[in-house]
């Protein structure tokens, strides 16, 4: 069934390391990284053993029935979250199984997926700010509070993007963002905008919540990848702590 493909283990290994580190760095759970790598390796006729940690990936590739095996390690860069990439690589892995792509074709496709555009910055800012306003509505805010939550989220996210661009530590960027958002929302309490301005303050920092680390932490823990689950959980907690710190500082400044 499978076409005879002439590949060497080294090329397969590099490609698999690429796939694994990209998935791990962009918000896939450990189980998904393992399944995807195994799926591709299987389809190419290789056996693979993995050691997946949050910051690096190690694998040994072995041609089925052969002695030609090789190992290496690659660092996982802390990218953040990019589901377009996770979804693209997942689709690619199925195409490797179904269409029998060669290693070169896979590498080409990985480059294509990596180059996929992000949403334009203004769209991201506007829609995340709208999400902030929606949160405010869900917690019982009216139109004035929603507008406050909208602008607080908008400025907070803007500051976070700028801080990340200036290569600040990710937790410090979150602290800056949470502080900015809370300063904007806190102003509305001082100026007494709306009936329940507290709602706007509490929801203004929600765009920072570590949803991906916490949910992936739980999936990892329940999947038996206890160590990775704990690492992700701690990461989520530090993010939550940074948010709280920014919020607290702003509230102290306004003496709320």
């Amino acid at each position: 069934m499978a076409k005879e493909r002439t590949t060497n283990s080294k090329a397969v290994e590099e490609m698999l390391l690429d796939v694994g580190t990209l998935l791990m760095g962009n918000g896939a759970s450990t189980g998904r990284v393992r399944t995807t790598i195994n799926r591709i390796a299987d389809a190419l006729g290789y056996e693979v053993e993995l050691l997946i940690t949050s910051r690096s990936l190690m694998l040994t590739v072995n041609k089925e029935g052969g002695l030609d095996h090789t190992s290496s390690v690659k660092r996982t860069p802390p990218h953040g979250v990019n589901f377009k990439l996770v979804s693209g690589i997942s689709r690619l892995s199925w195409r490797v199984v179904e269409e029998g792509l060669s290693v070169e074709q896979i590498n080409q496709d990985i480059e294509r997926i990596k180059a996929l555009p992000h949403y334009p910055r203004f769209v991201v800012l506007a829609l995340v700010a709208l999400a902030g306003a929606s949160f405010c509505r869900l917690f019982g805010g009216e139109a004035p509070e929603m507008i406050v939550a909208f602008s607080a989220t908008f400025f907070g996210l803007f500051i976070r993007q700028e801080a990340l661009k200036m290569r600040f530590n990710p937790y410090i960027s979150i602290f800056f963002a949470s502080f900015t958002a809370a300063m904007v929302a806190g102003l509305s309490i001082k100026l007494n905008i709306g009936h329940s301005p507290e709602n706007a303050l509490a929801t203004s920092v929600l765009f920072l919540i570590p949803g991906v680390p916490l949910i992936n932490s739980l999936s990892d823990l329940m999947d038996g990848n206890t160590l990775n689950g704990m690492v992700r959980g701690v990461n989520g907690l530090i993010i939550a702590f940074s948010i709280a710190l920014g919020l607290m500082l702003a509230m102290q400044i306004y003496s709320l």
Binding site: S29, V128, L130, L138, I209, G211, S219, M222
Partner: protein, 164 residues
């Protein structure tokens, strides 16, 4: 709560999820489905709360629905389930409870343990903190379990295609 207010909240659940979907850079073809899944999950939670179900259980039910729908959406839209479930579940995060817990902690750290209000603040803080914790756990577990269960099906599918 009347039907209209309920449906209106559903719309906002959808938009809150949409914002996070954009933030996480999901593929464009999944955006509308995420909106629908988030609205359905959120409405499930609200309706159950209306029926006097405890908020943790209601959240768990909403999150599980999101998890199950995400697995179906994953098959039709060819993207991993977490692409749908994580943005969709975020609007159910108990932001207000977490905020009040934080306020409580700040208050506790600044008042003397012997003062009259201390025990009231302590009780309030613990209550909000536990609610936050359990709701967050209900969210994460509710979403993770359908994904973990569905992984068996994917393995079956692999074997099936391998046999053909």
């Amino acid at each position: 709560m009347e039907l209209f207010t309920l449906l209106e909240k559903g719309i906002w659940f959808g938009f809150a999820a949409l914002g996070f979907a954009i933030l996480f850079n999901v593929p464009q073809r999944t955006l509308f489905i995420i909106w629908i899944i988030a609205a359905l999950g959120g409405l499930t939670k609200l309706i159950l709360i209306q029926l006097n179900v405890e908020i943790t259980i209601a959240t768990f039910a909403g999150a599980s629905l999101i998890g199950i729908l995400s697995v179906y959406a994953a098959h039709t839209k060819h993207a991993p389930p977490l692409v749908f479930s994580i943005p969709a579940v975020i609007p159910m995060v108990p932001g207000i409870f977490a905020y009040r817990m934080m306020l409580g902690l700040m208050k506790l750290s600044s008042t003397a343990a012997t003062s009259d209000t201390y025990s009231i603040s302590l009780a309030e803080t613990v209550s909000y903190g536990l609610k936050t914790l359990f709701i967050l756990m209900a969210l994460a577990v509710g979403v993770a379990v359908p994904m973990l269960i569905s992984r068996k099906e994917t393995i079956k599918k692999v074997k099936h295609t391998a046999e053909n």
